[in-house]
């Protein structure tokens, strides 16, 4: 992929021209609270990420993971507190990609994989401009990064779960995103698909893309990410997995949902997430 893909951050033809200040962290969340009417989805969440960090966001269903991502993406307003991306409000940036959960998308929509990835270019094109040869070439490159180039012309309803997620990662690349928020990106994937996505995450790391992934899988969170963020409405821990995944913090965050079983080999964590109630909107 060309070098300018992640260079011109935040210049949008729809009137948003926030630029990243180099001395500022890519993401700074300070005392964030989000409420839906009387329901408190998030409160007192504070943490900072530097460029290239890859973080797993862990928490039970309804912990506010999607809400956190939408507040960071600037599509849902913070009730109190602040979110800063590269030093300014997220709503001024077009370099934040939110990778949706599967059920947020209508898969019968008549578009191909390449069409969806091309949508990521919209923010750079602006009004009345159609995607040109350069955009098409970039789409091709982004599809190659996620190993989907041979499926470019496939209808999206003919993709497997893992392919769907890789398509959205390609779209985020086409968007020239520097901060990718991946909601349950691995939930629908089989093991080979997961391995493929972990390899893509490695590639994103070398590009300096900052990634947050919400997940239910504590083992994979511990194994594949620099840091973990333990969330259940409030922040229960943020740091290396060894520091965060302690019996005390996990029990505090999960309450009765999580069973910690002491075995001769260490602590066994049983995560009861079979009965999905769905996260808050």
């Amino acid at each position: 992929m060309s070098a300018d893909v992640t260079a011109a951050a935040g210049v949008s033809a729809y009137g948003h021209e926030a630029r990243h200040q180099p001395e500022q962290p890519i993401l700074e969340v300070k005392d964030l609270a989000v409420t839906y009417g009387p329901v408190v989805a998030l409160e007192a969440v504070t943490f900072t990420l530097k460029a290239g960090d890859q973080v797993a966001v862990i928490g039970p269903n309804g912990a506010g993971k999607s809400t956190l991502f939408k507040a960071i993406a600037g599509v849902w307003p913070a009730t109190t507190g602040t979110v800063r991306v590269g030093g300014s409000a997220p709503g001024e940036h077009i370099c934040i990609a939110y990778i949706p959960q599967r059920n947020e998308i209508d898969w019968r929509f008549p578009v191909t994989v390449a069409d969806v990835v091309l949508m990521g270019r919209t923010g750079r094109l602006g009004w009345f401009r159609r995607p040109g040869a350069r955009d098409q070439a970039l789409v091709r490159e982004c599809l190659e990064v996620v190993h989907l180039a041979d499926l470019a012309d496939r209808r999206i309803d003919a993709l497997s779960g893992g392919q769907q997620q890789r398509m959205f990662i390609a779209r985020a690349l086409a968007q020239e995103a520097e901060l990718m928020l991946m909601d349950e990106v691995l939930t629908a994937c089989d093991t080979p698909s997961k391995e493929e996505i972990y390899r893509i995450l490695e590639r994103l790391k070398t590009r300096g893309v900052t990634v947050m992934v919400s997940t239910h899988d504590l083992d994979e969170a511990a194994e594949h990410y620099d840091r973990v963020l333990l969330l259940n409405r409030r922040l229960y821990g943020f740091g290396a997995s060894a520091e965060v995944f302690t019996a005390k913090k996990l029990t505090a965050a999960y309450g009765g949902v999580l069973r910690l079983v002491q075995t001769p080999h260490g602590t066994l964590v049983l995560n009861d997430s079979c009965c999905r109630r769905g996260d808050a909107p």
């Binding site: 077009i94 949706p100 998308i105 929509f109 008549p110 969806v116 009345f128």
Partner: protein, 278 residues
């Protein structure tokens, strides 16, 4: 045989009202076919139905004031449709009610108001029938001109803002992270739909409008892979069904609006049968 078929097609064209009617159904078929694709994909069928019914009080007021003159009627209908579309949009976006509830309240209320207003006039039942089921053979040259202008404006807008409306319809969250003005795009789409509904009113009427917006796009969806081809095929289906339906109504003497819709429905059922999913 060929001569017989040729005569069958040519004979109705001797009547100017039939020629105007054919032009009207072609324009409306194309317009509704294209715009209807967004209605189908966005799940706005109920909204489209409500919008067409909600135009009734506007038509009634225009009718009572103008004494049946067609020209101002279109203006009244257009104004009503745009106001209703924006109202439904605003109520929906507040999030206090589910969308279908908001639509249902406004739809039923407006329709009742329309029926009440029409019933104050003299020839209640006949006029109501025209509003409800269309009067494509009563289309004047002036009506046709307006329908054509509306079609050009709507299709032109669709061409200009295609990528934004596609994005909004497929993934609104992406549209918002790319900082598109999603609110304005949403409302302008509603206004576009309102204009389309008004343009199609005289052809198929309030009650059967929904079929023109939904059935050709749904049929095209069965046969196509991408949105541009779906829109093109849907336009062809809409126009063809319009022409076929009008000829059917000419020869076997059934109501034209109903004939057009029945052809659309038959096309859909046939497509569903022929192209069964594996």
């Amino acid at each position: 045989m060929i001569e017989w078929l040729y005569d069958g097609i040519i004979t109705p064209l001797q009547y100017p009202f039939m020629v105007r009617g054919l032009w009207a159904v072609i324009i409306v078929g194309i317009l509704c076919g294209v715009v209807g694709c967004l209605v189908v994909l966005r799940g706005m069928a109920f909204f489209g139905d409500a919008l067409s019914h909600s135009v009734l009080p506007g038509l009634a007021i225009g009718y009572l004031i103008g004494g049946g003159a067609r020209g101002p009627l279109l203006g009244w209908a257009l104004g009503t449709a745009v106001v209703v579309a924006l109202c439904i949009g605003a109520v929906t976006r507040t999030g206090r009610f589910r969308e279908d509830t908001a639509i249902g309240i406004i739809f039923a209320g407006m329709f009742a108001l329309g029926v009440a207003l029409i019933s104050t006039g003299g020839s209640y039942s006949m006029d109501l029938v025209h509003f409800l089921f269309g009067d494509v053979l009563g289309v004047s040259g002036r009506d046709l001109g307006w329908t054509g202008i509306i079609a050009v404006v709507v299709l032109g807008a669709l061409l200009l803002f295609y990528k934004e409306w596609l994005l909004l319809s497929f993934d609104e969250t992406l549209a918002r992270t790319l900082r598109l003005p999603t609110g304005r795009l949403y409302y302008s789409l509603l206004v576009l739909l309102a204009i389309t509904v008004v343009a199609a009113l005289q052809t198929v009427g309030v009650a059967l409008m929904l079929a023109m917006l939904v059935t050709p796009p749904a049929t095209a969806h069965i046969w196509t892979r991408r949105l541009p081809s779906m829109m093109a095929l849907s336009a062809v289906i809409g126009a063809t069904a319009g022409v076929t339906g009008l000829y059917l109504s000419f020869y076997i003497g059934i109501a034209s609006g109903a004939a057009i819709v029945l052809v659309c429905t038959a096309g859909f059922l046939l497509s569903l049968l022929v192209r069964r999913r594996p």
